[in-house]
Symmetry: C2
Subunit: 300 residues, 2 copies
């Protein structure tokens, strides 16, 4: 199976309200709750593509339980390691003309809890053909965490993808992951000077097997051992870009379990990213859009 790691899992809650009375009392018309976090989104896409996938990470408190319950109802296998703190909620207050987000701080993870996670992670790696390390880190975990987890996987012959930002991204190459996948802004923060290509090459020089930079509607850039490739999109897909990067990561994970030439892998991953824009929620993609856009993506 493909293992996805979500150390900072979330319960994504949406409050639909006709119009919010700020500093007043509001009746919420409808509530939606859904397990979230980038690794969960990647797992949803992989499961929709028929892949055997397992969600791991950390979950705590009743909110952690709500995440597990939603994974159950989505038919996603999971082995989340319990922590004492409460899993974060991300709340969107959705009015017709405005979306206000509230991000809870989430749990602070202790050393013992991370040691528990590492034991579970090690056991799960025995069955894993690839591992996806995605998203923010909860408080308490060092910025070297993804480097540590990637190295741990590599030592056991399992290729890893890291999708991170900030210090965890800067440290990621030390773990020698098969792939690092930043977007252009994340890459610019991690490697402040030069073009995206130069930034990607810098991360590769530091230890990444390949660096794939997602460029939104402009496609993607891949700096690999076989050369540098760009995916050029035939047109911009309208919709919600949240989760597009996760769908692209899911496409890259497919390439780790069924290797092929980079141009082909990159085309498929970029098509999945575009198809995710056409779907209303993160972790979903539109198969029709995928079929339409996939053959039209140019790899140069």
């Amino acid at each position: 199976m493909i293992l996805t790691v979500t150390l900072n899992a979330a319960l994504d809650v949406t409050y639909e309200t006709p119009q919010v009375s700020w500093d007043g009392v509001n009746r919420v018309a409808a509530v939606h709750r859904r397990a979230g976090g980038k690794g969960v989104n990647v797992a949803r896409v992989l499961a929709a593509l028929g892949q055997d996938v397992l969600v791991t990470g950390l979950a705590g408190g009743p909110t952690g339980r709500a995440v597990e319950r939603d994974l159950d109802s989505a038919g996603l296998a999971h082995a989340l390691v319990p922590v004492a703190g409460e899993t974060r909620t991300t709340l969107v207050v959705a009015e017709p003309a405005a979306h206000t987000l509230f991000n809870e701080p989430g749990p602070t993870v202790g050393e013992d809890e991370f040691a528990d996670f590492l034991r579970t992670y090690e056991a799960l790696l025995r069955e894993a053909r690839a591992v996806v390390l995605s998203g923010s880190l909860p408080r308490g975990l060092p910025a070297t965490t993804y480097a540590t987890l990637a190295a741990f996987a590599r030592d056991r012959g399992v290729p890893a993808i890291v999708d991170a930002d900030g210090e965890p991204l800067r440290h990621a190459p030390d773990g020698r992951p098969a792939i690092i996948k930043p977007n252009a802004e994340e890459l610019a923060r991690a490697v402040p000077h030069g073009s995206p290509e130069e930034g990607a090459e810098a991360l590769r020089d530091r230890g990444a097997g390949a660096v794939i930079v997602s460029l939104g509607a402009s496609g993607a850039l891949a700096v690999t051992a076989d050369g540098t490739f760009r995916a050029r999109m035939p047109y911009a897909v309208d919709g919600n870009p949240t989760g597009a990067g996760d769908a692209l990561v899911a496409g890259l994970a497919l390439g780790l379990v069924a290797p092929g030439p980079w141009p082909e892998l990159l085309r498929r991953a970029a098509a999945l990213g575009a198809a995710a824009v056409a779907a209303p929620v993160a972790g979903a993609f539109d198969p029709g859009v995928y079929e339409a856009v996939h053959p039209l993506i140019e790899i140069v």
Copy 2:
């Protein structure tokens, strides 16, 4: 023990934020979660007064579990009956200068679920010396619910207090509860014509043993079989009036398990209500304020 019934239990969540960016992304500085609902608040006050108390009602989903967990951590015994729908959350987004409330709709309760509750309620009544029926009803339950539950208790020799609003308050006298406790606005909605005293007399004429009207900083009015009494407060207590009515109801419940003359019972209940204003959260009261204000309340 004293049984408190909270059919529409809630998880009261507070997000502390320095300043909200509406239509933007906000980091929540601190999150507080606490079991809520009027019956839970009454139980907290009774437990703080050393009374043996049990919380019943309905709870569903991970949010219901969060309510149970908070009751556990508060040391409050509970026997909440499971429902399929998810217990509501009430969210306060607390900025220094503004409080915005979001009330989730909560579960819709089915007939089978209410039948389950009635079986539990009947079993718990065997040990109960008084029962408190407080707060809003979840969707799916008829407006006669509190009348039904009060009659059920009465048939088993257990005196009931009803603290309700709207149609459930209008129907409450049909169950012949020992006490109905509206505030002035609730009473005016239920009995639109006449003074608070006339309104209270009307509810008593329809079947209530006594009607106690909470009047905020003005004290309380009691229309009873022994006559009509008013509690006059010596001064207004500064603070948060949320939960003051619940503390007053807790005081009235004490009178049901240890009867005494109405002036004494009313003075104690009004003092508890005032002491609750001085406490920062619903369900708490300030013992110092209680001791200070209690002897100064005039009953006329």
